[in-house]
Subunit: 476 residues, 2 copies
């Protein structure tokens, strides 16, 4: 093993130019899932993967998730590409996931270079849309297969691959396919690895073992049958905006405490083991200051910030539908307004219970107002939180791989946002899911000048390779 | 005089068909000031007035208010048409104002008929965009001149006319022209009459002697340097929306009481004389229920509703700029949000003092929040309230004219909204200004299916004529 690791690592480092050229090849395919005109490019990117997998001797199948309507056009959804490399019953089977679609990008948004041409700058950054999210990670799995073939090294596991083309547009149709294939294509899977997130900072690799959930609410206040002029009606009617703003002001304090009674009841108490994971993380207050371009953090210590992001619920007010929102001055009394807010949920909060607590609280606060308007509260979308057992062999293997490649122990991190496919794999396959990021927190996925550092890409290929080797030998 | 009144009234009633046909002629000119493509039609409507005034022997001048940028195009503003009919030093000089532009209208908005074709329905309603706002009133002044000529009756006053083509788009450039002409074209004016509002209800004519003012505020809360994702940052930073909603919730109660300390201090106490004006008004609670298409009125009596609309200040929350406002769900933490609200002001509130009270209150409430965000409060626009002396001879004359034409005393009304030109004439000319409406409250100015009742139009011409006769003889 140790020999193989060094042998593979050396080969991969020697072929840096080749890997960069291949990344340039896929960045040049503008596979934007959110733009109807780019849909053929998304399909083209899917075909690229199918062809490469075949070239490498994997067996490939695709699943068509169906159709969608976008910009008024009915479009075919790009295929979910399923690949299998190896079917040795004596080996473990690892399922890896990634996405081959990307966010939109326009030079005019402020890119320094053409987003569809991979550019290496003087600091070793590889700039281009999709470089870090998620094309480098996806194709790296292929380079791991290829390196083993070139070096004549036995592949350490059976590899199942699931690459989708709609992740940046809500992963339409993916969940259904995963559930449908759970006992079929994904039948023998022993563990899952997703490489589609980022290091906590810029110095140190991490393994990500938790995500918050989200419950998104619409609070509708209805009054008059049509919008009214505030000159004529101001002061004479119960204005829906006044009721809504009053109710929204009762949801959360300025320092982030949620005011809905009972909402904290089911939050899991901190354990000693969890507490330890917060020690020595590669995270400084300056990191959040620079990420928010401000010093408006509520807390004074790194640990408090990370606990607020990872393991405590939060409530954000996003906006209001139906009210005036443009620059300038309009003197309308809106007839019907919809307040939008969401609660980020954590273990062991149950979405259904959260919805009930929110509804009951808002209805009782509204009753106190004695307004003649009417309200309704509904949870438009609820996605559950996810937390994995960091002692599972999947994490033990990943931790050893990080140690081998980076000569350091990984941070164990959680994230504040949701990556819905994680929970889907967890629930459909009932196997350990690991998030194993390749890029850094400053890569700018979804932003202008998206990049992946050359080192993160090349050592990332090494990391994925080592991870598979460690999975191959880890004690179950 | 009495003879002349009947003679003119009979002539006008006999020529009903002619007046309707002439109204159809101007409704067919789609003089929408708010659409760049319709600008030539606004000019065409201005020329129509110039030509008619010349045909009737008035002297006509125009003033060009300059240019504006609309829909990215630089456009000439339509002319202010100034007409003079009669210069007899022994007669009083009456200045009348109206506007020849109209609101946009599209059949697809829900009109039952083509908005640019005047249609008389079975209930005697004349339907068409601009019919009541403000084309019938404007051209009625011309028909008063014409009727006197046809009947060989001496015109009772000198008439000055000021017709603008930008009223529906903020009267750009008008104030400057009025101030510039105050000592020139408008030099000898003794009183002003504006026919551009509506009866309180649908049964009884009114004279309007007051308008509320408006102070429009922007409350800006700034936090992070850019919008943040609530998954990553929710719970860790002071969110501008939370601060803003908290502050906005402290401005007004659900039943309309303004919470800014000191804001009621300068509200004029009710006098016995004012109280009497509220008696026997043609207004029922059902009128506000049908106008708002709801039963969300705060008050249970007509008098309270009208006092809230006319003589008490009110505060309305209009919306938020910078927050999420679309259907659907977006999980943004907006970086900078601007709350929009306005206070309708009444005698004797001073706009500058109101701004200071609002600023001081919001700043002190914000300080209590101990947020790391920053705020600014500014009054984007302040227009003062206006109240006229109902005992002025201008009102006495108008009241007598109503009595003659409608065999009833007029309601004396105020309005909750502002008509800025009223205050401009008042302040520039320092003469009594009277609002003498022709249409009814249900005419639907600015709405689909705008109409003026045939009776209101024809008897409206009579009313304007009688008004000028009464002004001619009233004791000053
Ligand atoms: Zn991604
Ligand atoms: Zn992404
Ligand atoms: Zn008007
Ligand atoms: Zn109007």
């Amino acid at each position: 093993m140790a020999d193989n690791h060094e042998k593979i690592a050396t080969y991969i480092r020697q072929n840096e130019k080749y890997y960069i050229q291949r990344l340039a090849e896929v960045v040049a395919i503008p596979s934007v899932s959110g733009e109807a005109a780019r849909r053929p490019d998304v399909f083209r990117m899917g075909e690229w993967l199918v062809n490469e997998l075949k070239r490498l001797g994997a067996s490939v199948e695709t699943r068509a998730p169906g159709k969608q309507t976008l910009e008024g056009k009915e479009l075919d959804l790009p295929p979910v590409v399923l690949g299998t490399y190896g079917t040795d019953a004596k080996k473990k089977t690892v399922l890896v996931y990634g996405h081959y679609d990307v966010q939109p990008a326009f030079k005019s948004d402020g890119w320094n270079t053409d987003p569809w041409t991979l550019v290496e700058d003087s600091q070793g950054r590889l700039l281009g849309r999709g470089s870090t999210d998620d094309k480098a990670p996806v194709i790296s799995w292929l380079w791991v297969i290829e390196a083993h073939q070139k070096l004549g090294i036995d592949f350490p596991v059976n590899l199942k691959m699931c690459f989708e083309g709609m992740e940046e547009s809500g992963s339409e149709g993916l969940d259904e396919i995963i559930y449908a294939e759970a006992d079929k294509y994904f039948k023998d899977v022993d563990c899952v690895c997703i490489s589609d997130n980022y290091w906590l900072g810029v110095e140190k690799p991490c393994l990500t073992y938790g995500l918050r959930g989200i419950s998104y609410f619409n609070l509708t206040v209805s009054g008059p049958g049509k919008d009214l002029h505030s000159g004529v009606f101001g002061g004479t009617v119960h204005e829906p905006m006044t009721d809504l703003i009053t109710l929204m002001s009762k949801l959360v304090t300025v320092d982030g405490k949620i005011l809905v009674p009972g909402v904290y009841d089911d939050v899991a108490p901190r354990t000693e083991a969890e507490d330890k994971l917060y020690q020595n993380l590669a995270f400084k207050l300056d990191d959040i200051h620079s990420a928010t371009e401000s010093k408006t953090t509520i807390f004074d210590t790194e640990k408090e910030v990370l606990m607020a992001r990872w393991r405590n619920p939060s409530l954000s007010l996003h906006g209001i539908e139906g009210a005036f929102y443009s620059p300038g001055a309009k003197t309308v009394i809106p007839a019907k307004v919809i307040g939008k807010f969401s609660i980020r949920t954590v273990p062991n909060q149950e979405p259904a219970k959260i919805t009930e607590l929110v509804r009951k609280y808002i209805e009782s606060e509204f009753a106190k107002l004695k307004s003649k308007n009417t309200i309704s509260v509904d949870c438009g979308h609820a996605g559950k939180w996810w937390v994995a057992d960091v002692n599972h062999w999947n994490y033990v293997a990943a931790s050893k791989a990080v140690q081998k490649v980076f000569k350091a122990s990984p941070d164990f991190t959680r994230e504040g946002g949701s990556i819905p496919v994680t929970l889907t794999f967890q629930e459909a396959l009932k196997k350990s899911v690991l998030l194993l990021p390749m890029g850094k927190s400053d890569d700018g996925a979804h932003s202008i000048n998206e990049k992946i550092d050359k080192r993160n890409y090349i050592e990332g290929i090494n990391l994925l390779s080592s991870y598979l080797h460690e999975v191959g030998v880890v004690q179950v």
